[in-house]
């Protein structure tokens, strides 16, 4: 009895369907892989260049490499070598033409706490070769300055300034320093200010007296000219005018000296000149005492403070 197997109707063409499904899955996976690889740059040509660093603190594989801030590659390999650590950078070939051989690499951070990146800095030296790097070329690495170095640098720059300030303070504190002398001089000047003020007032009083004396002298001179007028009317008229002018000038000097403190010195000097000129004129000089050293009267009772009764009282106290 032969009972031939008859596949169920629903499995008709199942082989073809499975094959199609599998093919679709494989193509899908391959497409996804290809897409990821494409996204990861697997289909972009890279050029490997190197640099040597004394240490690679902060550098690790996969770290981005940037040129002018643009990502142009990554750190591919780190190997200990006889010159330190050999770091391989994989640079997208299309950017290699922008990287001359004189370029340097340095480790930077995006901000103070951002991710680290390798920054390629094209060489700034115009005399250096502008030929782009090629596969396997080695560029220089500029290590970052540490905090200790920064502190040392600041210290080196501040030390002369601190020394200079210390020297200045020492000079200021020295007993014979210019500053101390200046301060002492200023102190003396301030102490003498009241005395100067007093002397100024004395000078003003003297000037006032001198002007008054001049006016008195002018009046005397006017009296002297009266008899002369009878004999020499023309000459006396001229003299009278001159004397009037002098008297007016003296009056004006006094007015100005009283009203204008700022112009006091000048006015005083002018007044003295006028008085001096008047004194030297023949009409007046005979009436004015010539300047001579004055002596105070020697008084026989200068020492007599009080009578014996007072002295006895003082002795008893």
């Amino acid at each position: 009895m032969h009972d031939p197997h008859v596949p169920p109707r629903r499995f008709t063409g199942i082989r073809r369907k499975i094959s199609l499904f599998m093919l679709t899955a494989v193509v899908g996976v391959a497409g996804a892989v290809a897409l990821v690889a494409y996204k990861q740059g697997a289909f972009v040509r890279h050029t490997a260049i190197y640099f040597y660093a004394a240490d690679v603190f902060g550098i690790n594989k996969g770290m981005a490499v940037r040129l002018f801030g643009l990502p142009v590659g990554s750190v591919r390999e780190l190997q200990i070598a006889d010159r330190g650590v050999k770091v391989e950078l994989s640079i997208m070939t299309e950017y290699v033409s922008r990287v001359p051989k004189s370029s340097t690499a340095r480790l930077t951070r995006e901000g103070y706490i951002g991710a680290g990146t390798i920054q390629i800095v094209p060489g700034g030296d115009p005399t250096a070769s502008s030929e782009p790097v090629h596969e396997g070329d080695v560029i220089a690495f500029v290590p970052n300055r540490g905090v200790a170095e920064l502190v040392e640098d600041i210290k080196v720059q501040l030390t002369p300034m601190v020394n200079e300030m210390r020297r200045m303070f020492a000079e200021m504190n020295a007993p014979g320093s210019d500053l101390r002398k200046s301060l002492q001089g200023a102190s003396v000047v301030f102490q003498q200010l009241p005395e100067t003020n007093r002397e100024m007032r004395d000078v003003l009083r003297d000037a006032d007296r001198a002007v008054r004396a001049t006016q008195t002298t002018m009046a005397s001179a006017a009296r002297v000219t009266d008899p002369l007028e009878k004999d020499l009317p023309a000459v006396t008229a001229t003299l009278g005018t001159a004397l009037d002018s002098l008297a007016g000038a003296a009056h004006e000097i006094r007015t100005v000296a009283r009203s204008n403190g700022d112009a006091l010195h000048d006015t005083l000097r002018d007044g003295r000149e006028v008085v001096g000129a008047a004194k030297s004129s023949w009409l007046i000089r005979d009436y004015i005492e010539s300047p001579a050293m004055r002596t105070l009267p020697v008084d026989s009772f200068e020492s007599f403070g009080a009578g014996p009764e007072v002295k006895a009282v003082k002795a008893a106290r």
């Binding site: 005395e195 007093r198 002397e199 004395d202 004055r294 009772f301 020492s303 403070g305 009080a306």
Partner: protein, 274 residues
């Protein structure tokens, strides 16, 4: 003639150094008039230095004497004596006899103030020999009279005062006339003659008021007060002492204020002790 007079040469201006000394001298005098004794001393010191720099004997003598007067009024007797050294202890400069007499008399007055009567007498005698018939003779007689009074020689004191009175009237020195009258009043006080003392002191007061000399007025009023005490007129004495106190206060004379106050207190204490 008028034209010739107008065309005559003007007075020659003084060199700046001389002017400096003169100005300091004048300034000091003004300060002394204003009661600024310290300022006056400073000015006379400056004038003395300037005169010494010029070897000007007259300027040196004038300013040294002035400085000694100011120092004595300040109560700085040692400085007053030292300030006379440029005149009295300077053998290399020739001073006029009158200047030497002035300096010697000043020295006598300083010694008198310090009660060094022997030394004061010597210097007064030296001044007399240097002076001869100079205008200082009245002052010298008055100083010698004061020295005689201090040593209790009332006759000699009275004679000295009389000589001083005569000399001062002859020379027209009214300040010394008043001093001589005051000295006579003091001699009378010491003799116990209150009436004569009051008369002489009154005359001295009249002259001193005429001369507008506050310190002398003070001394005369004190003398009049003492004469009143002698005459038993305590109220009058108190009035004189109070006037003396008022004069001292107006003059800001601390020594005079203290002395007049002490005299008034003495007057108040006497009735209590009796």
């Amino acid at each position: 003639m008028l034209l010739a007079a107008c065309g005559s040469q003007p007075a020659k201006p003084k060199p700046p150094a001389v002017s400096t000394a003169l100005e300091a001298n004048r300034r000091a005098e003004a300060q002394l008039r204003g009661g600024d004794l310290e300022g006056a001393a400073r000015g006379y010191r400056e004038a003395l230095r300037a005169s010494q720099a010029l070897e000007d004997p007259d300027g040196i003598a004038a300013n040294a004497i002035n400085l000694s007067i100011v120092y004595q009024r300040l109560g700085r007797l040692a400085d007053a004596r030292t300030s006379l050294a440029p005149v009295l202890e300077q053998p290399n400069l020739k001073f006029a006899p009158e200047r030497l007499a002035q300096a010697s008399l000043r020295r006598a007055l300083i010694d008198l103030d310090e009660r060094r009567y022997a030394s004061a007498g010597e210097w007064a005698g030296r001044a007399e020999s240097q002076c001869g018939a100079c205008p200082l003779s009245a002052a010298i007689h008055n100083v010698q009279g004061q020295l005689a009074l201090e040593s209790g020689r009332l006759d000699a004191a009275g004679a000295g005062a009389q000589r001083a009175l005569d000399a001062s009237r002859a020379s027209g020195d009214r300040a010394e006339t008043a001093n001589a009258l005051r000295l006579m009043g003091l001699v009378a006080l010491r003799s116990g003659d209150g009436t004569a003392a009051a008369a002489r002191m009154g005359e001295a007061l009249a002259v001193d008021r005429d001369l507008a000399a506050p310190r002398k007025i003070y001394l005369d009023l004190v003398g009049l007060g003492r004469a009143s005490v002698l005459l038993g007129e305590r109220d009058a004495a108190r009035a004189y002492y109070e006037r003396a106190l008022a004069v001292s206060e107006a003059e800001r004379d601390t020594r005079g204020i203290a002395e007049a106050s002490a005299l008034i207190r003495t007057l108040e204490q006497k009735p209590a002790s009796q």
